[in-house]
């Protein structure tokens, strides 16, 4: 089981899904708080699901409120940074750039990619935490 955990973790880093911040989180874990990283991840996915839903609603409305969208992405980027979700963070940055120049098409495209990365990360982290138990 240990080897599988190590393999999943290695692949998450090699493929750029996670960065050093994730390691920082793991270093905050101890015997008294052995599930800290999983707890943070759970909070992150709950919170980001909310943000994704808000962004989807805002995009569906058709009229692009770039300020509002940028605001959501700022939050999304923030929490993604805190957990070390590297690919998701990159998509957030790109989305914000498109907001800045008012490119609706770019926003839509990037958002689609962001959701994909987010879903993949979620799945892989679930596998990782499951294998760690």
């Amino acid at each position: 089981m240990q080897r599988q955990v190590a393999l999943i973790k290695q692949s998450l880093f090699d493929q750029g899904y996670l960065d050093e911040q994730f390691i920082e989180l793991e270093e905050l874990q101890d015997d008294a708080n052995p599930n800290f990283v999983e707890e943070v991840a759970t909070l992150y996915f709950k919170d980001s699901a909310r943000l994704i839903s808000n962004i989807e609603q805002a995009l569906e409305r058709g009229s692009f409120d770039f300020n509002r969208l940028d605001n959501y992405m700022h939050q999304f980027k923030g929490s993604s940074t805190s957990i070390g979700a590297s690919k998701v963070k990159t998509e957030c940055t790109m989305f914000r750039e498109y907001c800045r120049v008012g490119n609706a098409e770019g926003c839509l495209r990037t958002f689609k990619q962001l959701k994909k990365e987010h879903a993949t990360l979620r799945k892989k982290l679930e596998q990782y935490f499951q294998a760690s138990k």
């Binding site: 905050l28 707890e39 992150y44 980027k77 923030g78 929490s79 940074t81 805190s82």
Partner: protein, 183 residues
């Protein structure tokens, strides 16, 4: 006939430390992000600090009793050694919170640290000008927190030593007076 000297006569406070409890710094952390709140709380706990976390500047003011309602229970006993606040928050920003704290006679001495995910120099300057103790880039590192803690503990130690020294001087002074009075 020796007169018993009571502490009130000596006019020395028994409370020599503003620490929340022996060796423990009490930190108030403010952040609207639930993930960041969890993270900063853990960083502070690992650094042996007592932590209170709130999700907005408004709640921080309420906690401190600065929200104008003036009904904060145990306000006089509230011992905060450090406030760490996110910069970008809906409603009142960390910068506005910093200003309110520095305007308050009760809390202006408390160091306020601003945290932000954005490395914007004018923003940093503005915060430092307004009296922020430090400006940390997110994600905050454990090393940052430990550095803050150590610097605060040193400051507390200096205050403590000054008070003890003052006590010693006052005690010596009284002793001399007693000797002169040939008691």
């Amino acid at each position: 006939m020796a007169e018993v000297m009571r502490s009130e006569t000596l006019n020395i406070s028994n409370n020599t430390s503003s620490l929340a409890s022996p060796e423990l710094l009490h930190v108030l952390a403010v952040d609207d992000s639930i993930v960041d709140r969890k993270f900063i709380e853990r960083l502070l706990r690992v650094s042996s600090c007592k932590v209170t976390v709130v999700d907005s500047a408004t709640r921080a003011l309420q906690y401190l009793g600065l929200d104008g309602d003036n009904n904060s229970v145990g306000f006089e006993d509230l011992k905060i050694n450090l406030i760490m606040t996110d910069y970008s928050m809906p409603g009142m920003t960390g910068y506005e919170l910093l200003k309110k704290i520095k305007e308050s006679s009760a809390f202006r001495e408390i160091p306020v640290v601003i945290m932000s995910s954005e490395n914007i120099l004018p923003r940093i300057d503005r915060c430092l000008e307004e009296g922020a103790e430090d400006f940390l880039l997110k994600p905050v590192k454990l090393a940052d927190v430990k550095r803050l803690r150590d610097s605060l503990l040193k400051a507390e130690e200096r205050v403590f030593k000054n008070i003890m020294h003052k006590r010693e001087l006052e005690a010596n002074d009284i002793f001399s007076q007693l000797k002169r009075a040939k008691i």
